[in-house]
């Protein structure tokens, strides 16, 4: 591998990692706050990508503007899913049952997407879709940079929300010890609902970013959920910064491997990383020192 190619892969890896980070952030939040394994997260990402594509087709405006509608919509759906569906699960079996429940939601979304827009592959065509620019000899697609910027900004906002606001404090307390959080006066059910809403709002942002640079079809979410789950385990379940770091590391790794092994084999990196993490450090590599163990 020569120097330019290596650098090109590295830059693409960082950009890809940024996208992974925003796509995985919601997953780790659901698990952190509610011990919910949200299989339908990637399906919501694809749904948002479809809505961005549809918005662009109908209005001719940039698909990024679709977020004005999808982000609040997804937030609301998230709160509803938590308050109407998740709270009905028995606490003792919540994690297991949430897999089944959200699996069903994923199938439902996939089916509805096929019903509404058929199984045809779709792609957003923009004036800047094919644009590139040079960055120290590497060629970078503008759409990838936009997606990365979107991910970086929303992750920074999410991080500030969790670290600097009163709601963030309540959410972190709920993640770390739910009963103790109730006993200092935090309404943990309300916090969990809003937490779930925020998680799903990140799916709207991630899906829009994805729509700029990907061909989408209804069953696409199955190829995303595996790598995303691997990322949040490697990063330490429940930790947003851990997830971001793991996403970058794995994104760069995948991008580098892709040059030598091709896209299919490069994907196995996620599963190898997952196995290694579960064997050596089940609490994850980048979470807090005291992160959740499996």
């Amino acid at each position: 591998m020569d120097g330019t190619l290596l650098f090109q892969s590295l830059v693409l890896g960082v950009l890809l990692g940024g996208l992974y980070a925003i796509l995985a952030a919601g997953l780790t939040l659901y698990f952190g706050v509610m011990r919910v394994v949200m299989i339908a997260h990637a399906a919501f990402v694809i749904l948002a990508a479809y809505l961005a594509w549809y918005f662009h087709r109908e209005t001719g405006l940039d698909p990024l503007f679709s977020m004005v509608f999808t982000v609040p919509l997804f937030f609301g759906i998230g709160v509803l899913i938590q308050r109407v569906l998740i709270t009905r699960l028995r606490p003792a079996t919540l994690t297991m049952m949430s897999v089944l429940l959200t699996f069903a939601v994923a199938l439902l979304i996939e089916g509805l997407l096929g019903l509404a827009w058929s199984g045809t592959q779709r792609r957003v065509q923009l004036s800047y879709s094919g644009s590139n620019f040079e960055f120290f000899g590497a060629r970078i697609a503008v759409v990838k940079l936009i997606a990365f910027g979107l991910a970086a900004v929303s992750l920074a906002l999410l991080f500030l929300l969790l670290k600097k606001t009163r709601f963030g404090l309540a959410l972190r307390a709920t993640i770390q010890h739910r009963e103790a959080a109730q006993l200092v006066g935090i309404r943990t059910d309300r916090v969990a609902g809003v937490g779930f809403g925020i998680g799903l709002a990140t799916a709207a942002i991630g899906g829009t970013a994805l729509s700029l640079d990907a061909t989408i079809y209804p069953s696409l979410h199955w190829s995303w959920i595996g790598p995303l789950m691997a990322i949040i385990v490697v990063g330490g379940l429940g930790s947003i910064p851990g997830t971001a770091i793991a996403a970058l590391v794995l994104g760069i790794g995948q991008s580098l491997l892709q040059v030598e092994l091709g896209t299919t084999w490069a994907q196995t990196l996620f599963y190898i990383a997952l196995f290694v993490t579960l064997m050596l450090r089940p609490q994850g590599f980048f979470g807090g020192r005291l992160a959740q163990r499996f």
Partner: protein, 258 residues
């Protein structure tokens, strides 16, 4: 036992109790009732200790008092006001703070954040600062570890952080569930000293303990719980002196004395 002279049982009865559980029935789901007609009173500036075998319902008493569990029947009174059936937020507002069994610090937060979360429902900054100064003085170790992650402290230190957190609202009554659980004897002694200091600082304490003999030595009043109701209650010293009771609950069973 110096306070026995100041606090005769008659005195304790004359003062209006801060917390009353009156004929309470409570349980979990469809399972049989855990509490069956339980009545307990906590007078001001008093440590009341509930002892009893495993499964007697000791922790359930505290959960009913702090609103984590709604009673099926009976009443909960705080300082004379009926607060039956209210949730943890309202119970906190009426002046009940609950320290859970085992470790319940927010592990990935600093001691400071933990203590400040105790004041989550308080808006007045001056009052928060006042309470912080108060708990740091009462529990020096909390001040020493102020900027450290709570999860990395020793068990005894974590317990004191939890005590400090619970005192932030200046509660009328603190509910302590097995504070000595998992602690070595020396740390246990410290924790019991701290309980006495909490009482002397003006907070009544309702204490639940497996470590019955040790707890009764600290407490002013004691209640022996069995099968969901109070069997015997009275001044802690008298319960300790009762030989029949000792055999049954305070050493006759290996678990109760451990």
């Amino acid at each position: 036992m110096s306070d026995e002279s100041q606090k005769s049982p008659a005195d304790a009865e004359r003062a209006r109790p801060l917390l009353v559980l009156d004929d309470v029935y409570a349980g979990y789901g469809r399972a049989a009732m855990v509490l069956r007609g339980l009545t307990v009173e906590v007078p001001p500036r008093t440590v009341v200790c509930l002892v009893g075998p495993n499964g007697a319902g000791k922790s359930t008493v505290l959960k009913v008092a702090s609103g984590l569990l709604r009673p099926r029947e009976g009443r909960v009174l705080v300082d004379g006001a009926d607060v039956t059936g209210q949730g943890p937020q309202q119970m906190l507002r009426s002046g009940l703070a609950h320290v859970l069994q085992g470790h319940s610090v927010f592990r990935e937060m600093t001691v400071e954040e933990n203590v400040l979360l105790g004041a989550y429902t308080i808006g007045d900054r001056a009052r928060i600062a006042e309470r912080v100064a108060f708990v740091r003085e009462l529990f020096p170790v909390v001040g020493e570890r102020w900027k450290q992650l709570a999860g990395l402290l020793s068990g005894g230190q974590q317990k004191q952080v939890e005590f400090a957190r619970s005192l932030m609202i200046d509660p009328k009554v603190v509910l302590l569930d097995e504070p000595s659980m998992g602690l070595d004897p020396r740390t246990t002694a410290t924790v019991f000293q701290q309980i006495t200091r909490m009482r002397d600082a003006g907070t009544a304490v309702l204490l639940v303990e497996q470590n019955a003999r040790r707890a009764l030595e600290t407490a002013d009043l004691g209640c022996v719980l069995d099968l969901g109701r109070v069997h015997i209650s009275g001044p802690a010293a008298e319960l300790l002196a009762d030989r029949r009771l000792s055999e049954l609950y305070l050493g006759g069973r290996p678990k109760a004395a451990s």
